[in-house]
Symmetry: C2
Subunit: 169 residues, 2 copies
């Protein structure tokens, strides 16, 4: 069971966007450079976040991304689901209906206990991530980071942020 | 994020083994036939369960598998970890140390908040599966299954179970 690197990148990129000046955004290239990762793959994550309504984007020479909702309304589960999909990790193939002692389909009105157990575990995973917002992550960074580091991030955002043009949505 | 089919197969196969007569086991071929899945892939899952100490195996013409511990001492997490590995699903690559505002390694004494959030979610997932034993699953099947179906499973196990020879461990 693995969670793709894209989730890590998207979560960091979205967290950084909390600090953007009003009405401004960051290009995928700048987001990639900030995090020291390849631009093409960062752009792919931003497209996924955009499709999920987590970031808003604008086209053109000044195109960039910024959060589409307040950071208190975006959870780590939203970001994970945008990148990884929200389907179940455990996919029951109903093998209880197979073989010499297979149950009849009509007798399988309730989920298999094994599938139900994994559904409960995945719900616990999801619930944990749903309880953590970007605002929570931002507050933790603000609390932990040395003041000089926050200033440095502020300078960088000030230099790199571009005005958001007409929305592409 | 996906959990491999092998986990489903291994969980069903291990649950079936609860019903084995004392001192007897099932060959991979029989386990595969019972569940209507390919023998080679079922054999691979049994080897993984054996390596993890969940089943015991014996070599030779009468070789087979049975549970190595009591069903109350085997959890769904044990089976998942045996097949999928027990490493973290979210792998932090410390991208907070990258780029123009990257933190110094020496300042990163605590885990990144994003990584810590996923670790908490994965712990919740694991805790749920650790609380469910094979014995629990077996009890649920016994409670739900039509009596005629249990009899049918018993007949099949009686016919297919082979005496366990010398352990291969």
């Amino acid at each position: 069971m693995q969670i793709s690197k894209g989730v890590e990148w998207a979560a960091h990129a979205a967290s950084l966007m909390i600090g953007l000046p009003e009405g401004k955004g960051l290009k995928s290239e700048a987001l990639a450079r900030y995090h020291g990762v390849p631009t093409a793959y960062m752009a792919k994550q931003m497209q996924a976040l955009s499709k999920a309504g987590i970031v808003q984007s604008s086209r053109g020479a000044h195109g960039g991304y910024r959060l589409a909702r307040h950071a208190t309304d975006i959870t780590l589960w939203d970001i994970t689901a945008a990148i990884e999909g929200s389907g179940p990790a455990f996919r029951c193939t109903e093998i209880r209906q197979n073989g010499p002692c297979g149950l009849k389909r009509s007798d399988c009105t309730r989920p298999c206990h094994i599938a139900a157990s994994f559904a409960a575990a995945e719900a616990a995973f999801r619930d944990t991530l749903e309880a953590i917002t970007l605002a929570d992550l931002g507050a933790q960074v603000m609390q932990d980071a040395p003041p000089a580091h926050l200033l440095e991030i502020g300078h960088w955002l000030g230099e790199e942020a571009v005005p958001l043009g007409k929305s592409s949505d």
